[in-house]
């Protein structure tokens, strides 16, 4: 589609700039790597729905046609952590389930984000009792907290839009360059260069 890339990254430091014109197969766009990566990331946030109680029902409403998370590129709920970008913890997290929650988070590839949906995921909610974790931020880092019991789908979409804004401000190139070099396995590849 001609000119499809223009308009990404409204909040980024360097906005994409059109140079020339898209032809049938040719044409080009000048932009920064950060902008183009962030643009791709923020418009394809695939959620891993960790539906633990009634909030999961509200998440289903968010994903269904009336509220339609597909408008933000986030309709592809993935039930494998390897394919997901966003862990959406929707509901009451017990300590026993916390183990699974943490393991799923550990299995997600970077970049990864977490939204705590509803009062229970954010703070334990009304359950100040022996099996319930008082907020998932005790075991995983949380990007956005959504209050409500359960929250309206609009609030989930609002969190999603805010998450898009946060992704826009990230610097993926710098993060990649700062990443420590992988440690070679002992004996493998030694002296290859």
């Amino acid at each position: 589609m001609a000119g499809g890339i223009a308009g990404g990254g409204t909040g980024s430091r360097i906005t994409p700039v059109h140079v020339g014109e898209f032809q049938e197969e040719g044409g080009f766009v000048l932009t920064s790597v950060d902008s183009i990566i962030n643009w791709a990331r923020k418009n394809s946030i695939w959620p891993l729905p960790l539906g633990l109680s009634c909030c999961a029902i509200e998440f289903m409403a968010t994903a269904a046609s009336r509220f339609d998370m597909a408008r933000f590129g986030a309709e592809v709920a993935r039930f494998s952590p390897r394919q997901a970008d966003l862990m959406l913890v929707a509901g009451t997290l017990t300590y026993k389930m916390g183990e699974a929650c943490r393991r799923l988070y550990d299995q997600m590839a970077e970049p990864r984000w977490v939204i705590a949906m509803g009062a229970c995921a954010a703070s334990g909610g009304m359950f100040r009792s022996y099996p319930v974790m008082q907020g998932i931020d005790h075991i995983v880092p949380v990007d956005f907290y959504i209050p409500g019991c359960p929250p309206r789908p609009e609030m989930v979409i609002n969190a999603l839009i805010q998450l898009q804004g946060k992704i826009e401000k990230e610097s993926p190139v710098r993060q990649i360059l700062r990443r420590p070099a992988p440690v070679a396995a002992a004996g493998a590849g030694a002296g290859a260069e």
């Binding site: 300590y95 026993k96 916390g98 183990e99 699974a100 929650c101 943490r102 393991r103 550990d106 100040r128 009792s129 022996y130 099996p131 974790m133 008082q134 907020g135 005790h138 075991i139």
Partner: protein
Amino acid sequence: MTETTTPVAVRRLLDAFPGEGKAAEFRGQWRVDLPRERVLDALRLLRDDPDLAFDFLNDVTCTDHPDEEPRFRVVWTLTSLSRGDRIRLAARCPEEDPVVPSAVPLWAGANWLEREAYDMFGVRFAGHPDLRRILMPGDFPSFPLRKEFPMEGERSDREWARWVIERARRPEEAAGPASAPAPAPGERAP
């Protein structure tokens, strides 16, 4: 309680275990208290007698009475699906020796019910094939529905978080102890 209104099942139980049973009525619901040694025989009688035919085990649960002796009361709720009748059977057991017979030989469905009662109250069921915790994690140290257990639990969130992250890293060790402590030699039903 007048003898004329006592249901047949209650009378049969009291006759079968003379001097040992105690019947109680509350709003038309009947409960029979028996010594724990008699419970399995009583359950079998209620299930197999064609006139009684209590063929469905609704629930096995427990109540905690810390000020009474013996402390725990285990309750079996039965329904006769053919007659539409219900009855409750109860047996006490002390805190030092919280053991009652398992109903798994009579109803396979008692398996998870008894595991839950064990998990929440620490009452053990002699003869149960696999008495493990069912709701709480395998290495949980307490019995949360006992009256002295604090509502908000005994561990802080920081301790729990450490526990969760540790187990998430090493799933093979997460299962916890495979089974409840083995019952004493004489405890297991033949």
